[in-house]
């Protein structure tokens, strides 16, 4: 792709406007942290578009970005290097508090959200992409760079864990199938 600098920036800005909100929601659902989600989406855009010439299929920018966000989330959580943007002053002065966004959530959703956040990050990403983003298993496999079978087994394990945490049974026969 060869464009002038201004054209490239206008294109990136347009992509940002188009995808930023949904990507930030996605990052938040996986990370559970609003500030970290914002930072990760920003980083995903920078990673994707700093080397603009490497992008061969701009019409797939959405897929590139989604994959970058999910992988950054996993990597950040794995390495436990989430930037809390705190210093001594903040450590000394800050105790994280609710920001009120979840005030109107139903108790049922609140309980389930708490359980999802306790899942390992890979399972959590699968659950969010499948149930909140409505992505097909094949696309999830593409984002997570794994096979469809792995996605199925991750979903199955996640449902079992959630069922156990929430005290309900996961009666989906496909779960057993995927497990085996």
């Amino acid at each position: 792709v060869r464009e002038g600098a201004e054209g490239r920036d206008a294109h990136v800005a347009a992509l940002f406007d188009e995808h930023y909100d949904r990507l930030r929601d996605l990052a938040f659902m996986i990370m559970g942290d609003r500030g970290a989600a914002e930072e990760l989406v920003m980083e995903a855009f920078l990673k994707t578009f700093t080397g603009w010439s490497r992008i061969r299929e701009l019409d797939r920018a959405d897929a590139y970005l989604k994959r970058a966000v999910v992988n950054l989330c996993r990597s950040k959580i794995r390495r436990k290097t989430i930037e809390f943007r705190q210093n001594a002053t903040v450590y000394k002065r800050e105790e994280r508090r609710k920001t009120g966004w979840d005030a109107d959530l139903h108790e049922d959703s609140r309980e389930l959200w708490a359980a999802v956040r306790r899942l390992p990050v890979r399972q959590r990403a699968c659950i969010v992409l499948f149930y909140a983003e409505d992505l097909p298993e094949g696309e999830i496999a593409d984002i997570l760079d794994c096979s469809v079978g792995t996605v199925r087994s991750q979903l199955s394990r996640a449902r079992k864990k959630l069922g156990s945490m929430l005290g309900v049974a996961d009666s989906d026969p496909s779960a057993e199938e995927a497990e085996s």
Binding site: D17, D21, G35, N87, T89, E94, T99, L112, A132
Partner: protein, 369 residues
């Protein structure tokens, strides 16, 4: 779909939509502007880096070709120059004396000589809001919510909205003229009126409650439900943040009127502000876990989940910041000499921010040079 799956679909979408609805649409435009700035900067760095790498490779080859290697090889500590050039210098108000980082990662400075606080956006490296106050600010503190600023000349604290920068209310706490230290706990602001008493201001309340835990309090640190109150005689009293009652055993540290107590990295950190010792302690017993001995006076500590920097004033009046290990407080070898009078330091957006009181600015350095 079984019941669990139906519940997952419904609840996760409700969570996502609630989060989505809580975001101010204007934030996207600010974020886009910041992203493009960072994109330009990163591209420029990459271009310069490629040229520099090529040049460096040529130089290294030339040097290696002509140089005789000394016995034992080069000292690696001498090959890395200190990163003492700031990445950014942002002008703020006059005589920035205190710094706080929080909210959505903004850096706030309390400017003593023109009675104001300034907000610096670390994504754009610009001071975007300056708020006039009714008197000279002292300590400044921020949690996820508002910014709290001490107004010692009025014996009061004032609250500022961290998004809009609008001051909302001023609450009288203590006798005017007493220096105050602010610490934010869960739904409570702790205010130490130095040498007077500890006050608690619960969220939503405009009436501080006075607590008589020690005679001459100088600072307070919090973690979880526990508070740690430092007295001028060096006594650290543990108290329950919910009830305000003393709990467990107290222990002692070096005495001092300017002592500072910080909870970070699973430990308590203490310095007197009068000597070069920074002590890392077990928070329940006060047992010393590690010690950093500076050549000068330790005046602040900035620490985040990755790094720790100590601000030191040398005997000749110069200031420097020294990076130490969070685990054993050992110096890493990274050291930055400050151009002016540095008073406080904080970490945000991958950077170390230090106030330059004489230069009326705040300087940003790479937190991991």
């Amino acid at each position: 779909l079984n019941d669990l799956e139906r519940r997952l679909k419904h609840s996760l979408k409700e969570v996502r939509d609630a989060h989505h609805a809580s975001i101010d649409p204007n934030e996207r435009f600010e974020a886009r502007r910041a992203m493009l700035r960072r994109l330009h900067r990163r591209r420029a760095i990459n271009s310069v880096g490629a040229v520099a790498l090529g040049t460096a490779a040529v130089v290294v080859i030339a040097v290696l070709a002509t140089r005789t290697q000394p016995v034992g090889g080069p000292d690696p500590s001498k090959t890395l120059p200190p990163a003492s050039q700031p990445l950014e210098a942002v002008s703020v108000g006059r005589a920035p004396s205190d710094i706080a980082v929080g909210g959505i990662g903004n850096v706030w400075t309390a400017n003593q000589e023109n009675d104001s606080v300034t907000r610096v956006d670390p994504r754009t490296d610009r001071a975007d809001i300056s708020i006039p106050l009714s008197s000279s600010p002292g300590d400044i503190a921020i949690a996820s919510g508002p910014v709290w600023v001490a107004l010692p000349d009025e014996g009061a604290v004032t609250k500022v909205d961290f998004l809009t920068g609008q001051p909302s209310e001023t609450i009288t706490v203590s006798t005017p003229g007493i220096e105050m230290e602010l610490t934010v706990g869960p739904d409570v602001l702790w205010i130490v009126a130095k040498g007077d008493a500890l006050y608690r201001l619960d969220a939503g309340s405009a009436t501080p409650q006075r607590l008589e835990l020690t005679a001459r309090p100088v600072d307070v640190a919090v973690h979880g439900t526990t508070g740690y109150l430092l007295d001028a005689d060096g006594t650290v009293t543990l108290f329950d943040q919910t009830t305000g009652d003393a709990v467990g055993n107290s222990f002692t540290v070096a005495p001092g009127e300017a002592g500072d107590l910080i909870y970070a990295a699973g430990a308590l950190w203490h310095f007197t502000g009068a000597d070069g010792n920074l002590i890392k302690m077990d928070p329940s017993s006060g047992a010393e876990l590690a010690r950093y001995e500076a050549d000068g006076t330790v005046i602040d500590l900035a620490i985040d989940p990755k790094v720790a920097w100590v601000l030191v004033r040398a005997g000749d009046g110069t200031h420097r910041v020294v990076r130490i290990a969070r685990e054993d407080a050992a110096p890493s070898g990274d050291e930055i000499t400050m151009p002016g009078q540095a008073v406080e330091a904080g970490i945000s957006g991958g950077r170390l921010w230090v106030t330059d009181r004489t230069g009326n600015q705040v300087l940003a350095f790479d937190k991991l040079p």
